[in-house]
Symmetry: none
Subunit: 432 residues, 2 copies
Amino acid sequence: MNCELISVGTEILLGDILNTNARFLSKELAALGISLMYQTTVGDNEERLKAALDTAFTRADTVILTGGLGPTPDDLTKEVCADYFGKKLIMREDILEEIRSYFLSKGLTMPESNGKQAMVPEDSTVLPNKNGTAPGFIMQQNERKIIILPGPPREMEPMFTEQVVPYLRKFSQAVIKSHTVRTFGIGESAMSERVADLLENANPTVAPYAKDGEALLRITAKAESEEAADELISPLLEDIKARLGCCVYGIDAQSIEEATVSLMKERGVTVAFAESCTAGLCAKRITDISGASEVFHCGVVSYSNEIKSKILGVASEDLDRFGAVSDIVAAQMALGVKSLSGADYGVAVTGMAGPTSDDPEKEVGLIYIAVTDGESLYLKEFHGRKSGSCRDYNRFVAASNAINQLRLCIIKSPQLRSEGNIKEFINSYPRN
Amino acid sequence: MNCELISVGTEILLGDILNTNARFLSKELAALGISLMYQTTVGDNEERLKAALDTAFTRADTVILTGGLGPTPDDLTKEVCADYFGKKLIMREDILEEIRSYFLSKGLTMPESNGKQAMVPEDSTVLPNKNGTAPGFIMQQNERKIIILPGPPREMEPMFTEQVVPYLRKFSQAVIKSHTVRTFGIGESAMSERVADLLENANPTVAPYAKDGEALLRITAKAESEEAADELISPLLEDIKARLGCCVYGIDAQSIEEATVSLMKERGVTVAFAESCTAGLCAKRITDISGASEVFHCGVVSYSNEIKSKILGVASEDLDRFGAVSDIVAAQMALGVKSLSGADYGVAVTGMAGPTSDDPEKEVGLIYIAVTDGESLYLKEFHGRKSGSCRDYNRFVAASNAINQLRLCIIKSPQLRSEGNIKEFINSYPRN
């Protein structure tokens, strides 16, 4: 089976809404092992929709359309598709009743216009919509299939999973299974070089890509069952993990914060953050993960120098002398928040997010991260973007690096260099 | 000019990433008055990408491609497009140098593979990439134009806005200008009713929509110049502002936080946040705005009860008795962070973000917000989502409400009801 997606809706062409349906359906088709070569978006326009169907059927035998099933006159997906297969639309009283009772269940009476949604292409399979008023349809003509689904994701997604997947499964020979190796602290090209030979593989394939400042490797196997696919993948996974070492933070992990929170739960350790330039982003990302309260109790957003001294006990002489963006201030912030919170680890971030720098000696993008377990200090200095839309990027990457530094510290990574005892570091810091 | 978009990337066809580029570019093209009839997505595959170009040029004179400019062998957008116009790729030493220094600026040496990104289609206009290593290109052949942009939004968006928009503007006849009225605290339908008559307008059009729990009104005028468009829009804007009152927080404002930060700068006031369920999201969103340091010095993420008492001075009897999610705790958090920070306003958020509730008497989605100027207390209780993917939504909407409550407090909105003096509220709270 060769499938193609057509998203129908002028609001998508105008950029008013994000096309999440295309992503959802693509993921589902991949999981079914059904190949999808093209996605197309077209407006609510009879002629252009027909043209899109023509093009699609030159390349695919099955076309899935979403959107344009609404009650208004500009919704015409069903009409165009029925006509495309030379079918009439027939009024189905039973469906009209369902739509009426759907409105009644909400204490409303059905507007006249919704009657349109009870019109059904002849010889089609109707897909009831339990989350809305527009049913979906499956139409078949020889080898060619048209599957029509409503546009709103909360109506389309369950309809697809519960009614279309069982239908499609009959046509899918193979299963395509993917696993993603997520890394941190290595660039896409450097990572690709370490696994260069594997990128030649036919099945499973190994494909590198970059996302939000991280490098990822996707391993995709085609087989007749999920199990068989996993058997193809697992030896490759082990090989890749061995080659990339500590840079690998998770397989199919959602994010560095998710991987780190589950690592902390596993080890039963807690963390507290002192954030300057990231200003709450570390805490926000850690607590995006449900159940983070087990490992995170407290964060201090010390945006001003006064607060760094007052709440975290950073020496104001050091702030005056070395500036808020310095290793010595990062170290004191980390120790300060660890003591204040009683957490096992204190993590501090201070840097110049940009777009401008308020310290002539510090350039935009300069960021210091300090992690301490109360004994040792682990420092990281790095450079984000100097210009452009750098602020969001620098803050995001600073938070990612802080969370990753914590992860490396917990797993006692050989990558980490300790600065020795944190109190000694602070006391014996060269101040003259 | 008739434009078409081609998004290149197998990761999009597999549903691994959401195609936000198509939305961004569609919005931008609409604003330029350039018609876009189709969007297509195709994988990193020479033959199919060529076929997509063929199809596109039967319907459009200008094709914009995003993605496939990376350093790896499967990135071939530039190669296919050059070949499509019968052009060779030439190595540009100057660009190679820029890429090298980009890596150097990060303390890295350029991997060999990135050299590929210095190859340029002959006779093309090169679009420098200040946020990455892959430059973009504009190629023209008779009436046909190909515009190639990198895939990562952080690189593509500024490149498009700063370098491609000025180029495209030359080809667009009419100007389509939009202004967006952003509101908070009023639903889409309630807002629509207040402006029902205006929704009939032909030019400018007035269109309501909902986004991230806010109701927006987009006013769009078509005219021969920006100025002429603005003349059509401004009287309508005034009318709408008058009808919606305090609910309007900004015209073309990016967000409630942007509007609130500029309001605070204007008034010269400062704020501190005490966050429980939002856990840093308020601080993060306020400091997303460049220059926020003028108005924001300090935030405390008091995720655990211990920290609420220890740092913010919330009475532990009240925590035990009324629970962390209660108006009395919110009030003490707000007062606590105001005193601790010395800011003009203290804002506190505590609630049940979900997915589960750890207090049988409090349902998921229950959120309390407290704002104080040290004298009066302004409380808000509201209910977010009870189930489904509620966590992110509840946290986001809780932060939005906290920031809006602060805004209403600063402008002394008649909408706000004061609970009277905050210390009296806390002392005389019914405890038996």
